[in-house]
Amino acid sequence: MESKIAPAGVQITTEQILREAQERRDSVFSVPKQRVDDLEELDEHRGRKRVEFEERVRRTRGNIKEWLQYANWEASQNEFTRSRSVFECVLDVDSRSIQVWLNYTEMELKARNVQPARNLFDRAVALLPRVDQLWYRYVYLQELLQNIPGVRQVFERWMQWEPEDKAWQAYIKMEERYQELERASAIYEKWISVRPEPRVWVKWARFEEERGRTDKAREVLQTALNFFRDEEEQIEKAQSIFSAFAKMETKLKEYDRPRAVYKFALEHLPKTKSEVLLAAAYTNFEKQHRTQSTLESTVLGKRRIQYEEQVSQDGRNYDIWFSCANLEEGTLRHLRDGGTTADKEQATIGRVREVYERAVAQVSPGNEKRH
C-alpha cells in the first residue's frame, strides 16, 4: 500500500496562497444604504447615531477625534445648538487643544454665524495667547470681514504679549496696506522699545527711507548708533547699522557722513572677518566718491592688512616681504613726485625701514638656501 503520509510532489507556496486569496476575495463591505422617508424616521436615525456617538466618546473621553466627528455630524444635520454643546463638552475635556478651537470656529463660520465665531476667537486667544495660529486666524477673519478697527484691536492686544518679530511685521504690513504709514512708524517705535536689536533698527530705517522721510531715517540710525556706542561687543554686533547708515547717506549723496561712520567703525572694531568686509565696503565707497589721498590711504590700508595676515601666517615667504617693501617704497616715490611735507616723507621712509628690519629679522633655520 502506498504511504499516505509522504509529502505531495508539488508543494504550494505562500505567494500562491496570497495571490489566490487576493483573486477570490469578496467585494469590500459597504454600509447598507438607509433611506429616510419622513420626519419620524429621521428622528429615529438621528437618535441611533447619537447613541452610537455618545457610546464612543464615553469610552474614549480623551480622544478628540471622536468628539470632533460627533460635533461635526451634528453641525451637518443643522442642529447647531447640539453641536455647540458637544464642542463645549470637548473644551471641558481639553481646552488647550488648538484643533478643537479651530474646528469650532470653522463650524460657526460655515453656518454663517460670524459674531459667535469672533467670540470664540476672543476666548481662544485669551486662553492660549502664545499660540500664534489662533492670532493669525483671528486677524485674518477680521480683515476678511473688512472690520479694520477690529483688526487693530486684535493686533494691539497681541502686541501687548510681545510676540516674535514676524507678528510685529504682520501688524506693520497691515497698516501699510491701508496706507497708514504714520501708524506703521509708531508701531516700529514700539517694536524697538520691546526688542532693540540692530536688524530691527535697520528695518525701521529702510522703511522710513522707502517712505521718503529721509530725515526720520537719519534720526533713527543716529539713535541706533548712540544706543550701541557704549560697549565694545555691542559695536561689533552693530556692524549692520554702520553699513546701512553709510549706504543710505551715499544714496542721498552726502559724502562726509559715511566717511566719518566708516572711520569710526574701523577704529573701534577688532580685526575680524566682518571688519574686512566693512573695509571693503569703505574702499568701494571711496573709489566711487573719493579724493585722491583718501582713496590711496584706504587702498594702502587694506593692502597692509592683507600683507600683515599673510606674513603672520608664513613669515618665511620672502616674496610677500618683497611686495610689502615695494608697496611702501611705491608710496614714498609717489609722495616725492607729488611734493609733500617733510613730515610725511619722513613717516613713509620710516615705514619702509621698518618693513626691511622686520624682514631681515626672519632668520632662516639652517645654513642651506633651500630646505
Binding site: E15, L18, R19, A21, Q22, I98, E106, L109, K110, R112, V114, Q115, R118, N119, D122, V131, D132, Q133, Y136, R137, V139, Y140, L141, E143, L144, L145, Q146, N147, I148, P149, G150, R152, Q153, E156, R157, M159, Q160, E164, K166, A170, R177, Y178, Q179, R183
Partner: protein, 300 residues
C-alpha cells in the same frame, strides 16, 4: 450636404443652359442692335456679321471663364470644408500641445542658428527687457524661492506661511476705509476718496462725532468697544467661500495614484498593503541582501 458629382453636373448643365440662352438672347439683341445701327454706318454691315460671330466667340470664351471660376470656387469651398472638419476634431488640449511644440522647435532653431553664427541668444533676448521688467522678474523669482520651502518646521512657521498666502486673496477696500477715515479725521468728504456727485451736500461732522469716529477707527488694546461691526452679506460670502476653498485643497492634498500591480502580492488587505509599502520604504536599504537570497532560494 457636400456637392456630389451628379449634382455638380446638374449645376453645370443648368448653367450652360442658362448661358446658352443668355448667349442667344444677347445674339438676338445684337441682331436687333445691328439692324438699328444700319442707319449709322453702312461699312459696319459686313463687319456686323463678323461682330456677331466675334461676340459669339467672346461669349464662348466668357462662358469658359465662368466655368473655370465656378470650378475653382467649388474646389476652394471643398478645401475649406475639409479644413474646418479637421479643426473641429483636434481638441483644445491637442492644439495647445502642438502650439507648444511648434514654439519649442522655433526657439531651438533660433538657438542653433545663433550658435552657428557665434552669437549669444540669451544676451540678444535680454536687450528686449526693460530694467523695471527685469527687477520685477527677479523679485518674483526670489519670492518663489522663499515660498518653495514646504517642509514642516514648526507650528508657528506653518501658521505664518499660511497667513501670508491667504493674504494674497484679500483685496483691501480702500474706498470704504478712506470714507471712514475722513469722518474720523474731520476732513471734508472727498479729500481722501473720489468725489461723489450723487451724494448730497454732506456737512463735516461735529467735533464730538469726529472724536467718536476717531476712537472707533483707531482702537487700542484697552478699547472697550466690542462686537459692534455688522459685516455685509458679501463679506460673509467671502468668508464661506474661503472655507470651502480650504476644504477643496485639503481634499486634493494626496493625489490618487494608479495602483500599478507589482505582481508580488505580499498582503491580505489594503491596510496590509499600505503597511508593507511603509516598511519597504524604511527597511529596503538594509534588507537588500536578505531579499536577494530569498529570491535565489539559498543564502550565499
Amino acid at each position: 450636404m457636400p456637392p456630389t458629382r451628379s449634382s455638380k453636373r446638374q449645376e453645370k448643365a443648368k448653367e450652360m443652359a442658362d448661358e446658352e440662352t443668355a448667349v442667344e438672347a444677347t445674339q438676338d439683341e445684337d441682331v436687333v442692335m445691328t439692324s438699328v445701327d444700319t442707319n449709322e454706318s453702312t461699312e459696319d454691315d459686313p463687319a456686323s456679321d463678323g461682330t456677331a460671330k466675334m461676340t459669339m466667340d467672346a461669349r464662348k470664351a466668357k462662358m469658359e471663364e465662368l466655368r473655370r471660376k465656378m470650378a475653382a470656387s467649388s474646389r476652394a469651398n471643398r478645401a475649406s470644408l475639409v479644413e474646418e472638419s479637421t479643426k473641429s476634431k483636434i481638441t483644445a488640449r491637442d492644439a495647445a500641445r502642438l502650439d507648444r511644440q511648434r514654439k519649442l522647435a522655433e526657439t531651438l532653431r533660433l538657438k542653433a542658428d545663433a550658435e552657428e553664427r557665434g552669437e549669444d541668444v540669451e544676451r540678444a533676448k535680454n536687450w528686449e527687457y526693460t530694467i523695471e521688467e527685469n527687477d520685477a522678474w527677479e523679485k518674483k523669482q526670489a519670492r518663489k524661492a522663499r515660498r518653495a520651502d514646504f517642509a514642516f518646521h514648526d507650528d508657528a512657521h506653518a501658521a505664518r506661511r499660511r497667513y501670508k498666502k491667504e493674504l494674497d486673496h484679500i483685496k483691501p477696500d480702500l474706498e470704504a476705509y478712506n470714507k471712514q477715515k475722513e469722518v474720523a479725521m474731520g476732513l471734508a468728504p472727498g479729500t481722501l476718496t473720489q468725489f461723489d456727485p450723487k451724494a448730497g451736500p454732506a456737512s463735516s461732522p461735529t467735533s464730538l462725532e469726529q472724536q467718536l469716529a476717531a476712537e472707533n477707527l483707531y482702537r487700542d488694546a484697552n478699547t472697550l468697544m466690542y462686537g459692534d461691526s455688522k459685516p455685509s452679506e458679501e463679506a460673509i460670502d467671502r468668508v464661506v467661500s474661503k472655507i470651502n476653498r480650504d476644504i477643496d485643497k485639503k481634499g486634493k492634498f494626496s493625489r490618487k495614484r494608479l495602483n500599478e500591480d507589482e505582481g508580488d502580492i505580499t498582503y491580505i488587505n489594503e491596510h496590509n498593503r499600505v503597511f508593507n509599502k511603509k516598511i519597504a520604504r524604511y527597511y529596503d536599504k538594509y534588507t537588500a541582501e536578505i531579499r536577494a537570497s530569498f529570491e535565489r532560494g539559498t543564502a550565499l
